[in-house]
């Protein structure tokens, strides 16, 4: 055969082969026997608990049969199993009453994330290199137990530390119980959004160290000072339901709502009036309202504000005319609002987010508490109250010093060698979410052994030597004790909604296993084999404490709680409001203080919680990256909000790349030019700028926390994240992905019916 003929025939054959495609088309996975008895095509609804933010909403999970690739006995195959398909709010749950926010909806992607840690890992390369190898659970547990028993052998139990996300309920009891019985250090809890200022203020003013439950549904006048209560603050879904009722859920009534903040937040966008005030002056504003109310005798004088200096004299320093320049709010406006609030009872004031993250955050919060007391909204319908919760009834109550304790931990480790010899890490990411000035990364590098239970490799868990991956929330026994959002006591409970997809183990089960293996007091303190056993014991105690009203016996109580997603008290009865534990001299306003000389750093940098990424812990979810930011419509990136006029003066156009520099670092992000921010303020969402944390979040955008000044709030030790001053400069053209048209078009308001 001649060469050209060979080529012709080969070409014909080759084309046919290309049609079939390469690869191994007849490779077929074996099918494992299903472990559940499901009817295909028919959904089962199972209760669960949302863990995407601290609110603690109840879920109903739509579970349907599907086919998943799983590994059984080392072999890959396909199995028919119940798969969570959709999350809805649990209609019976007192916090969210069947509704759910976008973050809650995205919880599904945590379970099915392609970059979840699927099996235990042991570090192979240098710490932080991200090099791990897969090991068995037996090996992983052996390593963990050996490190802990070594501590016991050398009488160094106190050098075991836990670093976790803020925990509540029985999960917290378990972790604290483990730490205590082991004689290790009390667990350190960390979250960027630390409500220690609110808790301290409420403890001082009302005797409750917890965030408030706001009865917005009955309010007629709401003044929010910086609190993004419809987006990310406190219990957003509960507050949104109540907000809807406040506006259009009471025939004949519509509440008015004012938002006072330097940058219009997503919540501020729904306000009847947005009143920009200078950063840190929210407390002054609140006291100026109080001054007018006292001056014009719009309410009976009360001892409500005894914690504020000058209260009994009628707050002379806070007359509207005197604070006009300081706050940037015209005196006439302050006077008008005070009159409106007093005339439209119930009126309530809220404060949170950036306003309590100033160096004078506690003062601001106490000022708002005093205003509320003066308005008569404390413990009354339409005002603030507190969720009745008993620490013994629903597991341990949440802590309050998240930021302070991680900073203290870092300092301890840096100052004394071997202060911490073993660190157990659980879903806390301080390497991402603290300013480098706190030296958390440096401190962690000094800890000889770090084990992480998280499902993902993020900036902090990348430093682990051992990863023992937890189940995802939908695969876990969950319980919760939400601290706010309802006037009932709530003990949420949910069995797993689906079987585990990967070779993971529930973190509480691992701790119980370790306790059993270590024996002694630890095993005695935690005698259960699995977490659901512990939960059942806890719910039996809860049943007895409730006085046998809820079911005929403990077993029925336990079953009913599992079916409905928890137990909650039958009546709405907020906790009684006490007089508070105010101590020390009345507070005066000593702030806010900022770092960075105003001349060199002319702008206030105000980071804010992003609706989609919260504090950055949700940036790994593709739905959260692609959902447009409500105010800017930005997707898949960061942005810096700059006032229109300021931008114009600097030749900065929409989307231009700008550099933001503080005394501690610089970052670059595209500019979002908006009239909704004060001219001397720039704002950035928290959540992007991850160095790892899965393919969707890695190397995307910029993290404003990294350039924050490490200033603290004196009374609580938490980070004053509103206290940084910066300068900005245009770098050049940038890239910003928007899902929206022009932002200055008028909305269409055609009146065709």
């Amino acid at each position: 055969m001649e060469r050209r003929d060979f080529l012709k025939i080969s070409a014909a054959g080759g084309a046919a082969a290309a049609l079939e495609g390469c690869g191994n088309p007849d490779h077929q996975l074996i099918r494992f026997i299903p472990e559940e008895d499901l009817l295909p095509g028919i959904a089962a609804w199972k209760p669960s608990i949302c863990t995407q933010c601290p609110a603690g909403c109840g879920l109903l999970v739509r579970v349907m049969q599907g086919e998943a690739e799983v590994v059984r006995n080392g072999q890959l195959g396909i199995i028919k199993m119940g798969l969570a398909k959709k999350l809805e709010g649990n209609p019976n749950h007192p916090i969210n009453q069947g509704r759910l926010c976008p973050r809650g909806q995205a919880g599904l992607q945590v379970t099915y994330h392609p970059d979840r840690v699927r099996t235990p890992l042991a570090r192979t390369g240098p710490r932080g290199s991200g090099q791990f190898q897969e090991i068995t659970w037996d090996d992983a547990l052996k390593q963990l137990v050996s490190h802990l028993s070594a501590l016991q052998a050398s009488r160094e139990e106190g050098r075991l530390a836990f670093l976790t996300t803020p925990l509540r309920g029985y999960r917290k009891s378990l972790v604290s119980g483990f730490a205590a019985a082991f004689k290790g250090a009390p667990p350190v809890e960390f979250a960027f959004f630390d409500d220690s200022v609110i808790r301290t203020a409420n403890s001082s003013s009302f005797g409750h160290a917890s965030p408030p439950t706001v009865d917005l549904g009955q309010s007629n006048y709401v003044i929010s000072l910086g609190a993004d209560f419809l987006g990310t603050w406190n219990s957003p879904v509960a507050q949104s339901i109540a907000y809807g009722m406040m506006r259009k859920g009471r025939p004949g009534q519509r509440g008015k709502f004012i938002q006072v903040e330097p940058r219009i937040s997503q919540t501020g966008a729904s306000a009847d009036e947005w009143i920009p005030c200078k950063p840190g002056t929210e407390g002054v504003f609140a006291l100026s309202l109080a001054h007018v109310i006292l001056r014009d005798k719009l309410r009976p004088g009360s001892a409500a504000g005894a914690s504020i200096e000058g209260w009994s004299q009628g707050l002379p320093d806070y007359a509207p005319e005197k604070v006009e320049t300081q706050t940037g709010v015209p005196a006439a406006t302050i006077t008008r609002i005070a009159h409106e609030a007093a005339a439209n009872a119930p009126a309530v004031a809220l404060i949170g987010d950036g306003a309590t993250a100033h160096t004078n955050g506690l003062f601001n919060a106490l000022a708002v508490n005093a205003l509320n007391a003066l308005l008569g909204s404390v413990g009354k319908p339409g005002g603030i109250s507190f969720t009745p919760a008993g620490a013994s009834q629903t597991g341990k109550a949440a802590s309050s010093d998240f930021g302070a304790s991680v900073r203290a931990l870092a300092e301890k480790v840096l100052s004394s060698p071997d202060a911490v010899k073993a660190l157990l890490l659980y879903n806390a990411n301080p390497v991402f979410a603290t300013p480098p000035g706190w030296r958390v990364r440096e401190a962690l590098d000094k800890v000889p052994f770090i084990a992480s239970f998280g499902s993902f490799v993020d900036e902090t868990s990348a430093l682990a030597d051992l990863i023992l991956p937890d189940h995802s929330p939908l695969e876990s026994w969950l319980d919760d004790a939400p601290p706010s959002g309802s006037a009932r006591t709530v003990a949420s409970l949910a069995p797993p909604a689906m079987m585990p997809l990967h070779n993971t183990r529930a973190m509480p089960d691992v701790l119980l296993d370790v306790a059993r293996q270590l024996g002694g007091d630890l095993a005695k303190a935690l005698p259960w084999k699995t977490y659901d056993e512990a939960l059942q014991a806890a719910f039996t105690t809860l049943y007895r404490e409730q006085g046998n009203k809820a079911a005929k016996d403990a077993d029925e109580f336990w079953s009913k709680a599992q079916e409905q997603g928890g137990w909650w008290s039958a009546e709405e009865k907020p906790a009684g409001v006490g007089a508070g534990k105010a101590s020390g001299a009345p507070m005066r306003n000593t702030g806010p203080q900022f770092e960075g000389a105003a001349g060199e750093f002319p702008f206030h940098l105000l980071p804010f919680a992003a609706q989609m990424w919260y504090d950055g812990s949700l940036a790994h979810l593709p739905w959260m990256q692609e959902a447009p930011d409500p105010l800017s419509s930005v997707m898949w990136g960061s942005w810096v909000e700059i006032n229109t006029q300021t931008a114009g003066e600097r030749g900065i156009q929409q989307g231009d790349l700008v550099e933001v520099a503080s005394q501690h670092g610089t970052l670059r992000a595209p500019a979002f030019v908006t009239p909704g921010i004060a001219p001397d303020v720039v704002a950035m969402p928290i959540g992007q700028g991850h160095a790892n944390f899965t393919r969707y979040a890695k190397d995307r955008g910029a993290n404003p926390i990294l350039i924050l000044a490490p200033m603290t709030i004196a009374e609580t030790g938490s980070l004053a994240w509103s206290a940084t001053r910066v300068k900005i400069s245009r770098v050049g053209k940038g890239k910003m992905v928007l899902f929206g048209g022009s932002l200055t078009e008028a909305p269409p308001e055609s009146r065709h019916r």
């Binding site: 050209r4 003929d5 012709k8 025939i9 070409a11 014909a12 054959g13 084309a15 046919a16 290309a18 049609l19 079939e20 495609g21 690869g23 191994n24 088309p25 007849d26 490779h27 077929q28 996975l29 074996i30 099918r31 494992f32 026997i33 299903p34 009817l39 295909p40 095509g41 028919i42 086919e67 690739e69 059984r72 006995n73 890959l76 195959g77 396909i78 028919k80 392609p114």
Partner: protein, 205 residues
């Protein structure tokens, strides 16, 4: 190349291609056919996509060419029905939801751990269970994924449509065969007769 024998070689090339193509189009494939409405997951890929894996698969689907399924065990409907079983004893849920489920090997073994245990096909069944494997039944009836058909058994059962109308008389079949061709015309014909909706969105959405 464009010599005298060009036409000859062109002709041979075309015949070769057509033969190979025809063979590939019509050959029986032991691979599981796609479930209606959901393309089969490719185990050797990191992504899921509704795209066809090869052009050939796309062409086969377009022409509605499906190979005759080869079942791993020679299940005989005739024998089971003759022994008094009803369709719904195994195909549970057909009156409650969209799918008529094929039970797992555990279900079969509830009877077959004692019944006909000496038969070779039952031994095969037991072997699957011993290995922890479910029987890889091959789909007989179903729609191409690109037809986007949302067939729901339950309303049809409730409307009194007998199983044999769409699936043929199973008392004469051993292994299930595609006795009835589920073309759109087949469905529409019955819908018209029964005054059920023929709006597109009744089945396609």
């Amino acid at each position: 190349m464009f010599g005298r024998s060009f036409n000859l070689w062109l002709g041979i090339g075309i015949v070769a291609c057509v033969t190979v193509l025809g063979w590939m189009l019509f050959k029986s494939s032991p691979r599981a056919e796609a479930q209606s409405g959901s393309p089969s997951p490719a185990p050797d890929s990191d992504v899921f996509t509704p795209a066809h894996r090869t052009v050939l698969q796309a062409v086969r689907e377009y022409f509605g060419i499906r190979s005759t399924p080869v079942q791993p065990i020679a299940f005989t409907h005739k024998v089971h029905l003759a022994n008094g079983l009803q369709c719904t004893d195994c195909h549970v849920g057909v009156d409650r939801g969209p799918d008529a489920r094929i039970p797992s090997v555990n279900f079969c073994m509830t009877c077959h751990q004692v019944i006909a245990t000496d038969k070779p096909e039952i031994k095969k069944l037991a072997a699957y269970r011993a290995r922890g494997e479910d029987v890889p039944w091959q789909r007989v009836y179903g729609f191409e994924p690109s037809a986007h058909v949302k067939f729901n058994h339950a309303p049809h059962i409730r409307a009194g449509v007998d199983c044999k109308v769409c699936h043929g008389d199973m008392t004469t079949q051993t292994v299930a065969e595609r006795k009835v061709d589920h073309t759109m015309g087949f469905c529409i014909g019955c819908h018209r007769q029964q005054n059920a909706s023929v709006d597109c969105v009744t089945c396609h959405y």
